[in-house]
Symmetry: C2
Subunit: 348 residues, 2 copies
Amino acid sequence: MSKNIIIAIDAMGGDNAPKVVIEGMSQARTLYPDTRFLAFGDEAIIGPLVAQHSNLENSVEIIHTSEIVSADDKPSQALRRGRQSSMGLAIQAVKDKKAHVAISAGNTGAQMALAKFILRTMPGIERPALISPMPTLRGESVMLDLGANIECDAHNLVQFAIMGAAYVRTVLGLSRPTVGLLNVGVEDLKGKENIRQAAEILKAEEHLHLEFSGFVEGNAIGAGDVDVVVTDGFTGNIALKTAEGTARLVSELLTRAFTSSTSTKIGYLFAKRGLQSLRSHMDPNNHNGGVFLGLNGLVVKSHGGANANGFATAISTAIDMAKNDLIRLISEELAQTTEVGQECGDDS
Amino acid sequence: MSKNIIIAIDAMGGDNAPKVVIEGMSQARTLYPDTRFLAFGDEAIIGPLVAQHSNLENSVEIIHTSEIVSADDKPSQALRRGRQSSMGLAIQAVKDKKAHVAISAGNTGAQMALAKFILRTMPGIERPALISPMPTLRGESVMLDLGANIECDAHNLVQFAIMGAAYVRTVLGLSRPTVGLLNVGVEDLKGKENIRQAAEILKAEEHLHLEFSGFVEGNAIGAGDVDVVVTDGFTGNIALKTAEGTARLVSELLTRAFTSSTSTKIGYLFAKRGLQSLRSHMDPNNHNGGVFLGLNGLVVKSHGGANANGFATAISTAIDMAKNDLIRLISEELAQTTEVGQECGDDS
């Protein structure tokens, strides 16, 4: 592969596909002019959209397929019927080393199932997990799993902790990340059995390259109390979307607050720039691009509801990780904690 | 009982008890001068604190107990040892009709276990659930369960839906509340088995006094897409605290945004009042006071970390519900949907 990044795009996935997908590609290419795209989907629909963007003219290869994974498809259906879909073929391109990374804004469960089937998990890892940075008071933390695994046992959670810490060491450059298990209280006896068991294992394993901080509650996410927040995919997805909904609520109330009187309207004129920077910091479209950790290949998940700017952010995230060879780095990190990885993998 | 409200207070429960509890009582009494308190706890500690507030002089009866339910106590331990604790005795006072409502900021699981044991559940209700209003773009919605039941089956969730709707009809005055089940996607096949089963039951039961809106995602909470958000106590607690943490994050970033330059500082001076109103709207201390629904008596749960203002809010909530005879109204509402209640109760 050339050193320029090649990105396999599921052009048909997401609430507003393929329009915002193609627009996002164009936006991203303005920032990263060396990027090339393989766009999978219905050529009759994608072709005219691509043609609207002059900077995509010689950088996009459209690979036609009429198969689509729908938002309603179960992971099992995606595995049976989705291999030739725009989503499946994009992931296959990574497997075949025709692309450095695959991106889709489609059905998360289907993407996870196809990615796991086509790329296989890293040695010692039972299940991949979806990870993403979250804005916090201290800057950024990461949370996983954000929706790939609805139910998780203790060993899954331990593997998520190890992978999350490896991601933080690699991407954020922290040598010994702090890791917390998301729970309904910080006391040892709180919460579900699988979480308590995971805590026991993480406490016992002293050779891991992480600092286990015990249980953390939901408010620890925004506070940035730990670098890595570990949870099952159901809870992680609810927490992520609740945080986004709350940020949107506050932002909207802020607008109302500023338009409530002449005095506040004047205030807005002066404060505008600071507020725009705040909104930008909290806008989910600027934090878009979760990664499926634990696979032998790079697969990025965009929000289903992302706008063109959001999809461009997901592409930037993908380029960044591909350039830094995230998969190799994580895999090297995990090799150093093989014992634990193996022990957990055996339990499935 | 007199028509003035008598409140049984667990003076020893919560992170900052008994100091903020007593201060909260004093603040509440300034707003509701007719209120009387039974304060349960260590007289040697509470007495001097009460004496510091002149408006509590003739309105507080201290009932001494040296027993305390700690944050570490399991529900089973609370049931064995906690009956004579400040928390247990406060709930017992409601059972004995010596108080209209009991309030504690202590251990949620213990409070739920003791309340269920002492007061018993309403006919047809298997498990009580903790409910609280949440600020939304549309005003206020409610969410339950917020932490009383870590694991819930489909019938528990159906009962929560019915109780939540009854609460909204009673407290918010909406005749046919919309109800959504919190899930990781809105499609029928998404999420866990118990949630999908609950959806099937709620779809089939057409005589309920509610409008079932299907599944909602985490962002629907802040958007106020439904009047009642139904979930298990684990997920609800995480969602609630994540929302609070995010609101705090945005509020802090806002302060930073306003102090980032001279221009934004000037803006702040003009916008101050609007912003204060926003902060006030989002401050969890101003929404404090969850209620355990489904019991034959009124028990209010304050945040463990509430400040004096927050505890005073919980007291106001308690007074409001006691004056409106919430328990009788909910119980009448539930009687109208007896079939479902019974059917669900039978399943335990």
